[in-house]
Symmetry: C2
């Protein structure tokens, strides 16, 4: 894309009321726009990053047999009364609204209830199991405070997958597959080396749930990391019994701040009992379906990437999620020769299927470089009179800062 | 995809409270699920159709220079008070809710206000114009009645594009480009021959707006069609002055029921005035930006396709939006030879990049055919002992019912 056509511009300062580094940088780079506290619009660059994160997650969910759906934001009160979660005393972050006839409706903060109700139409026999259903859908959570930028929104995209199994053994099998898929997701998204499978509160149906915690000072959680074993324990469950259970040595654990970028949870029959979601087993007897839930917030992942990988010049995207692979910067000469060469190179790269942001603007070199650092595209090609004298571009790696000349004909 | 793995099933009857043909067929086929009146979840088949409609629209919006964003559902009261549209007396279909601090928020039914406010960050000079910004985003409308299935929802996906131009001439130029893009969209989606560019109420800034009306008895609008000129007039603006203005002869017009699948609207400076969205012109003077809005409801399009193209056996999808291109149906023999051949053909077609739904279920032939008719995939390949004796499949066209034998090696 030609940068002269991109309607967003970078800005020197973030809004004064924005305290989170991720939102400050993303707003300055023209990735997002703050609508209200905890409510952000995604601009063209931001939407490109978000879609790449979504695509990675989708591939991994499909690979473990997930089938994609899209449930609704508006929720029926009666559905949620079945589990007691309609009550504001039980769930304190509902957004509620009213239909014209005066009846109440909620905005979904999660989707266990409506999906369990829906699956009653489709699960009746052991032949229908196992099943894994997921979506990328907007969640609404009426957070008291929303000061972590896109890492904790009042409105945010979430990938939530739900599994339906015949029994605990089948559930455990899928749960491990999902855990491995999550590890792959965070590796592919560039967070693998600082993201830990973390033991956390389980609930009635299992001793633990598993969180995927990315270490960052911007995180709101405290975890205790065993670097050798590459696992962690959330502070909320850390006690001697748990350490013994997990075979961990307290003296080897290091306390770190982290943000929960994903979690997986065994739900047992809590929801299937409430909705009478049963199936006829091979022995002809009705049995309750065993469920699990598996969440990742793509916006939170995007925020965590910015928080952990940015440097003092701006954002540094991993290749897998960068809005463009290459930032082509033309330092125009008066004769216009550079422009001709840059236009030709841009067309050539695009024809090869490479995603290029082409800074063809009539702007100073210093402004172009500063914008490019802020925007954070992994590879920069600078083309100028000087580089053209060698029929080359100067290639610069955003992350390492390494520079080399590359012959144009090899691109 | 193997149909034995698809978690949805067809059903013989739609819910009793569902009166719209589009929703009845889509629910029976396992495309959608009714959450509440006017609120539908999209299941795997339905989401595939929706995504294909979205992709067609996106291509055409990109082709006229549209840049994609994603704005928010939650809306700030102060933003909407600037145009007076926060008032329930002015806009009667708001869903409103409250933040924890007690302040009100709305759920967007459209996005002129927030986008105009946003563009103040990016438009300051004639160099920033023209610009066209669009999104696919969920709208919330608190409809009094919601009896048209997915053609009029309380929660629905909408493509809304907004244009920003220097003056009326530049606006008119983009408006005509958008109109032509809309014609292409509906042609590509299989509704071209029954969709009319329809003159409708304009508002303060232009005599007319243009609706794209698809003729169907399920429509809620009345239009007057001139078949020769391939245009129509909405009943709401039909009078002698308008007919004269458009050069139409009342005796040639035919009254038809239709559904509005798209509309384009000149907004003039209504919103830019309210938000003081101005730019510095080439002469150095500040001028207001001239705007337009351009909407298509992908769900409404999907409903209109079902309403207009379905037959008494079920849905008939155009190729451009069908969830799969081919429905491969294996009529298994006892020896299992058919299954082996069908598995091989399925793998071969998938390897060629053809989207195939493969009915590998252990079910009677009659049930498979009835399901296939209901689901409405354009091309059906039947493979059985009989067809295998000729090393062929029987190919059946869902729309015409035409049947022919096709050698497997040519597929």
């Amino acid at each position: 894309m030609r940068q002269s056509k991109l309607f967003t511009k970078t800005r020197k300062e973030a809004p004064k009321d924005e305290v989170a580094k991720n939102a400050q940088l993303l707003i300055r780079g023209g990735y997002i726009y703050k609508e209200m506290a905890g409510v952000y619009a995604y601009l063209p660059l931001g939407l490109r990053v978000m879609n790449k994160i979504v695509d990675v997650i989708r591939e991994e969910m499909n690979a473990i047999g997930g089938q994609e759906v899209s449930l609704t934001a508006l929720q029926d009160k009666a559905t949620w009364e079945k589990t007691g979660r309609w009550s504001d005393a039980v769930v304190d972050n509902w957004f509620k609204t009213k239909l014209r006839n005066g009846s109440e409706a909620g905005l979904a903060f999660t989707h266990e209830e409506p999906l369990t109700a829906l699956m009653k139409d489709f699960i009746s026999s052991y032949r229908n199991l196992p099943a894994a259903v997921y979506q990328f859908q907007t969640k609404f959570r009426n957070e008291e405070r929303a000061k972590s930028g896109i890492m904790r929104g009042r409105e945010f995209l979430m990938k939530d997958l739900y599994s339906f199994s015949k029994d605990e053994a089948e559930h455990a099998d899928f749960y491990e597959k999902a855990k491995a898929a999550y590890v792959r997701v965070f590796e592919r998204l560039g967070l693998g080396d600082r993201t830990y499978v973390t033991f956390a509160t389980g609930g009635s149906f299992s001793k633990f749930s598993h969180e995927f915690q990315t270490v960052t000072d911007a995180g709101e959680d405290l975890i205790y990391v065993d670097e050798e074993k590459k696992i962690a324990v959330n502070k909320e469950v850390l006690d001697d019994a748990v350490l013994k259970d997990l075979g961990l040595d307290r003296s080897k654990l290091v306390e770190k701040k982290a943000v929960e970028v994903g979690n997986i949870f065994s739900l047992g029959t809590r929801f299937s009992d409430a909705f009478e979601l049963t199936y006829v087993a091979e022995d002809g007897k009705p049995k309750p379906v065993v469920m699990g839930s598996y969440g990742i917030g793509p916006g939170r992942v995007m925020g965590a990437i910015v928080e952990t990988l940015a440097d003092d010049k701006g954002i540094v995207w991993p290749e897998s999620v960068a809005p463009f692979a290459v930032h082509l910067i033309a330092l125009d000469d008066k004769a216009g020769k550079v422009k001709v060469a840059a236009d030709a190179l841009y067309e050539k790269l695009v024809a090869k299927g490479i995603e290029v942001l082409y800074d063809d603007r009539d702007a100073r070199a210093g402004e172009k470089f500063a914008d490019s650092d802020l925007i954070g595209i992994p590879t920069r090609y600078i083309i100028s009179e000087k580089t053209l004298a060698e029929d080359s571009v100067e290639e610069k790696d955003r992350k390492t800062g390494q520079v080399k000349m590359v012959a144009i004909k090899t691109l």
